[in-house]
Symmetry: C2
Subunit: 524 residues, 2 copies
């Protein structure tokens, strides 16, 4: 399939007339053909109206139809074949194997949500029997969760497939019964068009209203803000910068009807190196691998290490100078990200008391990032909030604590994070036990003897965390429970049986596990 | 127990030094002794610091300790005996039977949450097994929900017990493992003191850290806003006016770390009278009873009726003139609420096209409210958003539609509501089926052949709804799932067994139903 420079509005491919933009190949810092037309206010209005009109028929499809639709999207993405991977490589500078892996993850996410939909537990079906003899009589009460309404999705620059047009936010919103309008990310326009057309094909094949899915092309500041402001939009999924997330949160809060924004923003993912674990001679290599994977462009990249001063920590630093020193520079996603990386590193290096302790290989290639490890005393870190800023790319800061108390003080000091890692052996048990409750309050995922990169799409995953890592710590954007973000409960009191939804019918035709008079009842 | 004019900070009763206020007996419009001291910024700071310090030890108590604590609060409230009811009657003008019923509800809510805590399902325990042979290997992942942190609770004027110091928000936050700081409502200061001391006694008897509960006295605009701004506070529960709720939402959104606000604000609870149901000759009495119960001071009061023009509707109106006409005026909660009621009725009566069709009995008693029913053509209602404003008290507006299409247009037009009622018989089946999906998008609870007043504390209850009825349609403030508001998920990856919480242990000692590799596993 050729890339045509088109967006999708309610199933129809069309070229926007409000100017054009082109994608950029970061490895050459050069534009890629063709030009993409930008959406007008009227295009956006049409997408929103179609989404609103599609909501009732779509949410009232059977669980099977909805599940099959998600699987069909997965199939139509695979049908795109190598053309998708080739275009994504050009637009992102990411290697083939990584993009093929990411495509697999994207397809598996869609299939996971198909399973979640078929299971039906997401509806939280709950029944309380009428007690007509009680004083006062208790009515018949039944509760289920339904979709919030049309959802606006803003894809991430760093996952052109898994967090983009048919990524986690789109899959979970569609699973919840919500139509989706994606604002395509300018860093991978052609990839977005290809995937968008695959989704539109699946909508048509599944016999669903065309408004279930649209994908618009335009700037975040105009089209993106207008999308979040539109009365038909009832929730927002976003993955990106803190500034971008905060701007959408503000817009959403200032609407006549405020709506939830699920923004996954910035995180430096502290890694605590407890004394016993420093003896692990695989640690320096594992750290360097995690730091430089995907040019460090992961929300779970290990941007902060914390260790206790001493020979063992010094030995780790020395070994890490070698493992990082062997890492080649790699192409970043966009010239803008590369520029911000250079500036972030320069600012960090310029802070009094901050010292460079490891550097990867340099390069003259456009948009290529060199890896770095810096070091700073904990006292300095605790006194300077600037040192907590995210540097998006392969640079990390080692905070050197004088003792256990100072290490715990750093844990208490950091902002909310997606992940917190602890490297520990049984010898570190006491210190780890003191660290754990602090991390429970600070992060969404606590991990031992590993790094946060590599986010498993599973039922027990939390890719979320206290502000500012996300806008809403009550949720996750990866894993099965991401569907919960787009649902709200509705209670049905004394509603006649012929009007009740299937999930709440007396005979439980879907064989759902349900809460009946407070007890879990399971007919499976 | 004497009312002493005190607040409670971390278990200690003390008298604020920032001025005084007194409670008011609305039936006499006269002050009641004693004076209550107002909290200083330092008092608030102390309560917040104690709550923060209490969070870790409290959330890590066993489920049994936490459940027993909630039951002990219920016992200590009952121990207050008639003194509590007498003081509440004086402060609110509500009759003894109503307050005794409300006390029963308050105590039952605490006991329901004790059951929810013991059940343990609220933790959403979820496990995914490690797959070490997979490429890449899958880690061991386990998820549970924990409390958000200290919660600020703002009680309602209209439920001095069930939505106040130890009401639904407090009970559900404590159940979730969150310390609570209540800002006492100025409409029932003595009632608040008595209940606050009962809670403090239960904290002490249960051997919990004193910071688990504080109750401060002060103005909403200063102390209340300062409480919501405090960094230690991680969520807010509020029941009250739309202006009050919006102000707290704004403060919470503008914090350095924004926090969730669960504000239950205003609702006019549309009641759709479908043609077949108008033949029910009990309807006029049932409506008048619901309208005037508790002087109409319920968030679920039927403030809007919608019917289709014709002889049957006219017969309903004529009969309702009689049933409302027989209703005596009754004392409202505060002089301020009474004044706002008079002004709301006057404004409604002054709108061109609005016509009074029923009036209850008048009175000269202070703060007593006369009931009214007004009527307006649907075209007029659809054109004037002011007619949708809540009048807190026993006044309702009948919207007369020309036909079914206009009735459905009114349903589509109204703002988000707590409840939507449909009066219908089998003859109305087609129209009811068209109305239902509209109501699903507009309200939290759909009820048939009844009125929204009387909110059952049950598992399938939703007391919530789309904005502006609440700030967050994803939740309920009444019923078992109210606990979900104060929880967030944490994922544990490869965490050693000796550090795992009990709910995630391999041997499942609490016999929780858990999701294991995507399937519900239940050992009960």
């Amino acid at each position: 399939m050729q890339v045509a420079g088109e967006m999708i509005i309610g199933g129809k491919a069309l070229t926007g007339k409000e100017g054009t933009i082109k994608a950029i190949d970061p490895s050459r810092n050069a534009e890629i053909e063709p030009a993409f037309g930008l959406a007008s206010a009227a295009d956006l209005e049409q997408a929103a109206q179609l989404a609103d009109a599609a909501f009732d028929p779509y949410r009232n499809t059977s669980l099977e139809v909805r599940a099959k639709f998600l699987e069909t999207i997965a199939d139509r993405i695979m049908d795109l074949g190598p053309a998708l991977i080739e275009r994504a490589m050009q637009e992102t500078g990411l290697p083939q194997a990584r993009l093929e892996g990411e495509r697999g993850r994207t397809v598996n996410q869609l299939k996971l949500f198909a399973k979640v939909v078929r299971d039906g537990r997401f509806q939280s079906a709950t029944l309380d029997s009428a007690l007509p003899e009680r004083t006062p009589p208790r009515p018949d009460l039944r509760l289920r969760k339904i979709g919030l309404g049309p959802v606006a999705v803003f894809g991430a620059s760093n996952f052109p497939l898994a967090f983009s047009v048919a990524g986690g936010d789109t899959a979970s919103a569609l699973a919840a019964g919500c139509p989706v309008i994606v604002k395509a990310h300018s860093a991978h326009l052609g990839t977005s068009e290809l995937v968008g057309k695959a989704v539109a094909k699946a909508v048509e094949e599944s016999g669903l209203p065309a408004g279930v899915f649209s994908m618009i092309i335009g700037s975040g500041q105009t089209v993106g803000q207008a999308l979040v402001s539109h009365p038909a939009i009832k929730a927002v999924g976003f993955t990106g910068s803190r500034a971008g997330g905060l701007a959408l949160m503000k817009t959403a809060a200032e609407r006549k009807e405020p709506i939830p924004v699920y923004a996954e923003m910035s995180s430096i993912n502290p890694v605590f190196l407890l004394p016993g674990a420093l003896a692990n001679d695989k640690l320096p290599q594992a750290f360097a691998d995690s730091l430089t994977m995907g040019a460090g462009q992961f929300c779970t990249n290990p941007g902060l290490l914390i260790g206790i001063k001493g020979d063992k920590l010094q030995a780790f630093v020395d070994a890490t100078a070698g493992t990082i020193g062997a890492k080649a520079a790699s192409t970043m996603l966009t010239p803008g990200i590369h520029k911000a990386y250079l500036s972030g590193v320069k600012n960090l290096a310029g802070v009094d008391g901050v010292q460079q302790v490891a550097a990867g290989q340099g390069t003259e290639a456009p948009c290529a990032a060199q890896a770095f490890l810096y070091q700073v005393p904990a006292k300095k870190f605790l006194a300077d909030d600037k040192l907590e800023g995210e540097i998006f790319g392969p640079t990390s800061l080692l905070v050197v604590a004088e003792d256990e108390a100072e290490l715990l003080a750093v844990a208490n000091h950091v902002e909310g994070q997606l992940t917190g890692a602890v490297h520990a052996t049984a010898d570190d048990r006491d210190l780890a036990a003191r660290l754990l409750p602090i991390l429970e309050r600070k992060v969404g995922r606590i991990l031992f003897n590993g790094f946060g990169t590599g986010v498993e799409v599973a039922h027990a995953m939390v890719h979320g965390g206290p502000f500012p890592s996300t806008s809403d710590s009550r949720t996750t954007s990866v894993g099965a429970s991401a569907i919960d973000r787009f649902l709200r409960p509705v209670s049905y009191q004394d509603v006649p049986s012929y009007l009740l939804p299937t999930s709440l019918a007396d005979d439980n035709p879907e064989k759902l596990p349900r809460i009946v008079n407070g007890d879990l009842v399971w007919n499976a």
